[in-house]
């Protein structure tokens, strides 16, 4: 079966879809911005951006029927890259706001960054790579990425942690589990390193086709 070549960027009304689309376009890709589960289920690579707050993102996902679609594509091990709030809602639950259940795809909980340094954690910080993976090709260990968040997920299974970042505590800044990728930082705002990570992900997912 040929690999589906189209790229879906999930547009559920709570993501910085435009920035992600611009970044992919600059790499020569033509992403499909969509909230249509039928199109997402057919995509060869799926990006799931997010900004804002976990609970409101979860409400949007549940009311739009996107939750089931996301569970299905991840269960099918489709190449999937979740960003920031997109990563956080993959966990079991978040403490943000009054707290809420999330998608339950990555066992663990999203908690507020412990007091000490300035919160939100906003700016450029280093990502220590814990595994070797093609998604890191050409990106030096310890390269800086752009972060904006006050909460962070803690996976129960340490083997899924692909990257960590020091911010008073050691934060899990990147997860890789099979074809599921998740970054707490924003590759679309992380200059050359971020674009390279997108390019690596898409090459991994789609092969060398634009």
């Amino acid at each position: 079966m040929p690999v589906p070549r189209n790229i879906a960027v999930i547009d559920y009304g709570a993501g910085n879809v435009r920035s992600v689309a611009n970044a992919l376009a600059s790499l020569g890709y033509h992403p499909d911005l969509t909230a249509d589960p039928a199109r997402i289920l057919k995509a060869g690579a799926i990006l799931f951006p997010g900004v804002g707050a976990g609970p409101s993102a979860m409400r949007e996902l549940d009311s739009s029927g996107m939750s089931g679609c996301i569970r299905q594509v991840i269960a099918e091990n489709r190449p999937f890259l979740a960003i920031c709030i997109g990563m956080q809602v993959l966990f079991d639950s978040t403490q943000e706001g009054r707290g809420c259940d999330c998608l339950g795809i990555i066992p663990g909980e999203v908690r507020r960054i412990p007091p000490g340094p300035k919160i939100p954690h906003m700016g450029w910080n280093r990502v220590k790579q814990h595994i070797r993976h093609p998604v890191f090709d050409g990106i030096p260990d310890g390269a800086s990425f752009y972060f904006v968040h006050s909460y962070c997920g803690r996976p129960a299974d340490p083997t899924v942690v692909a990257g960590t970042t020091e911010y008073g505590v050691t934060l899990c800044s990147m997860i890789i589990k099979g074809n599921l990728f998740a970054t707490q930082f924003h590759p679309e705002k992380s200059g050359k390193s971020g674009l390279r990570m997108f390019a690596n992900f898409l090459e991994y997912a789609l092969g060398n086709q634009r």
């Binding site: 020091e166 008073g168 705002k189 200059g191």
Partner: protein, 268 residues
């Protein structure tokens, strides 16, 4: 995952210090004099932003200093085009008067909006903006002028691009805005701006130690050491400059190399 506090890290050294070129614009054109020779159109904000992005700017600020109603559409268009070429955070300010303006700028591709005069007249816009879009999108811009003869030194807030005293103390105002939800302070010294004699270190230090959000120092950069001073003694989290970059006195890379050599963490 471990979640123990790492006591050996002071919060100063966790994030790299940001170097931010600022494009001052009127009617969609960059207006502060520039001496670019390597661009086709030195007044085009899209070309200039893309140039600074490639040079390693950590963020780009676009300020509409004309800020007329008619200029709003032009600005939205500029933001859209800049965000197609610039993949670092983009802050847009000038003429942001209500949450609808904020929403339009964010939708056009801005990551943050900077609010100045409108916040002084209606502090609620800070709270409402933070509530709707998150504190990280709301930058409070303060133009501060030293109160002549004040001891200890005090600074008053100016609005309307430095023309009108607002009757507010700059440090108090910064504190209040952060309580309302501002996620960052863009602090410009009216006295130092354009002088190239260095940032107002005392002003920056006073505001930085008064609030627990990042402070971007602006106004007065003329030499690499000014940048170093305001990031260390001034406790700023980021520096903003226009002329030294536009006139090619220093490149972004030169600033970063200088800071690195002095042990300041920068993204390189």
């Amino acid at each position: 995952m471990p979640w123990e506090t790492n006591d050996n890290l002071g919060d100063d050294i966790l994030l790299t210090k940001r170097i931010i070129p600022c494009l001052d614009m009127i009617r969609g054109r960059v207006v502060k004099g520039t001496s670019f020779t390597d661009l086709r159109d030195t007044g085009d904000p899209v070309e200039m932003a893309a140039f600074y992005y490639r040079e390693g700017a950590d963020e780009i600020v676009l300020l509409d200093i004309g800020a007329t109603i008619e200029a709003r559409e032009t600005m939205v268009n500029v933001v859209e085009r800049v965000s197609e070429q610039v993949f670092v955070p983009l802050t847009v300010g000038g003429g942001v008067r209500n949450t609808d303006d904020i929403r339009r700028m964010l939708a056009a591709g801005a990551d943050k909006t900077s609010i100045n005069t409108a916040a002084v007249h209606n502090p609620h816009i800070v709270a409402e903006g933070a509530e709707r879009f998150g504190s990280q999108c709301i930058v409070l811009a303060i133009d501060a002028r030293e109160v002549a003869g004040s001891k200890p030194r005090r600074w008053e807030v100016l609005t309307h691009g430095g023309r009108t005293p607002a009757g507010l103390d700059a440090v108090q105002w910064a504190r209040q805005a952060v309580e309302l939800g501002a996620g960052e302070i863009l602090l410009t010294s009216y006295d130092a701006d354009g002088s190239q004699k260095g940032y107002d270190l005392e002003l920056t230090r006073a505001v930085s130690t008064a609030v627990n959000v990042p402070v971007v120092a602006s106004g007065g950069a003329g030499h690499l050491d000014h940048v170093y001073q305001v990031l260390t003694y001034g406790k700023a989290d980021a520096i903003l400059a226009a002329s030294i970059f536009h006139f090619r006195t220093y490149s972004i890379v030169q600033v970063k190399e200088y800071l690195m050599a002095k042990g300041i963490p920068v993204r390189y």
